[in-house]
Symmetry: D2
Subunit: 140 residues, 4 copies
């Protein structure tokens, strides 16, 4: 599990007085970027090799609303990964009381940035990623 901690920004709220629901999904992006970074896979390095990993599916369930200045903890895990795709799960909690705010999931595929075609991740990158995910599952 990889965690990212951050505060809600004022512009992320809407006229309901709480955070607009699309921001949770924007925050998930920070979670998977950080997950991959800790696994040794840097997004800027991938892009330098024309590799991207766009979202194919996203889902999110909202349990409690959050608002400006709330401090949040985003926990990201990767239940499955292959050369062709990754699944990430996200749990969002309020730091102050640990309350469950939202939980979500994304499915990402690897594509070539220039052709837009789905590709398979090779060599070092997929090995590091699989090793990291396995280590996590084994609680290492």
């Amino acid at each position: 599990m990889v965690t990212v901690t951050f505060k809600v920004r004022f512009y992320e709220t809407d006229m309901m007085g709480v955070v607009h629901h699309t921001n949770h999904i924007r925050w998930f992006e920070m979670g998977r970027v950080e997950y991959l970074r800790q696994a040794g896979v840097d997004l800027n390095e991938l892009m330098a090799e024309d590799i991207l990993f766009p979202i194919k599916k996203v889902s999110c369930e909202y349990i409690e609303s959050v608002t400006f200045d709330d401090e949040l903890i985003l926990e990201t895990t990767m239940p499955s990964v292959s050369r062709a795709q990754m699944t990430f799960n996200y749990i969002l909690r309020r730091k102050r009381d640990g309350a469950l705010i939202a939980k979500g999931s994304t499915q990402n595929v690897f594509i070539n940035m220039k052709t837009g075609k789905i590709i398979r991740l090779k060599g070092d990158k997929i090995e590091k990623l699989v090793a990291f995910v396995e280590a996590e599952k084994n609680g290492i």
Copy 2:
């Protein structure tokens, strides 16, 4: 089915050269606002009575990417509605060729804006909404 047509704005793209996936979900909002409006339920009127309908669940599947200046058609339907909650389905198509871009769904509940508690929609509003949904299903 209620349709909204619009063009992709430049700021909705990201450095992958395509629209960031959270914008599709922002566009869905336009779809349900317009659906309710055509059903005779105005969001500003609801808010004037302290009624809101936040998202409880959202999901989206991305089939093809879109980019700046693409003209899109958003088709919104409401497979189910009750006094306590609404489900909306969304189909996003590119206008030029009708290509399927994304499909999604949201589940919304009615709440009191001040208490944050779930409420049941009453009177005129739920009647108009149910009548509209039924008429749609019957292809009227």
Copy 3:
């Protein structure tokens, strides 16, 4: 003067109950894109030739707030243009009553997308643009 008409989207509001001030500046982008299009200069065509016109300076004065569902008219003019840079002025009005909502200005330079260096617009493009601006000034 080139005009664009649009409605405020719900997600553009913030917890003050009105549109967040950065959206006005996002809307200005629609104004200059449309201005250039009407002048015969298409942004996608420019990008296909690796030409971009990033913002060097922006300013905006806010006269009256707007909120969800307000219909707005954005009027864009180009007080000056050269091979190296463009200045745009923007006036934002509420459609219902013509009320002045905001006025702003941007200064854009032409750059090569790959080198990031400032360039001078050549040939057809600058000629069409200058002709359009002159025709506007002369009230043609």
Copy 4:
């Protein structure tokens, strides 16, 4: 001078491959919120008393572009403050090399959230704020 350090998020980029220019202005908001907090004026407390401080004017000059994952330092100062309005200046630097990225300014007025009318900040709040600004100017 009050500083805030943060990293550029992926969704803040656009198809030019760099951060969209409206995000700098969104970041400025974090700067003034933190400035006021350090001066002892909490935005949530102000809102609890129906006090808001919307933007009347904003300007920004962009010196160098930034992109995903760049770490930035935002320096906020307050050149002038009165019971009716505040002016903030912002300097944005890249952390890695100290490069000047952008500089901007906002003018904010105090208003009553319910009436929308301009008000004058009273008592404790304006005193703490003036004292903080003076201490800063005197390099205390």
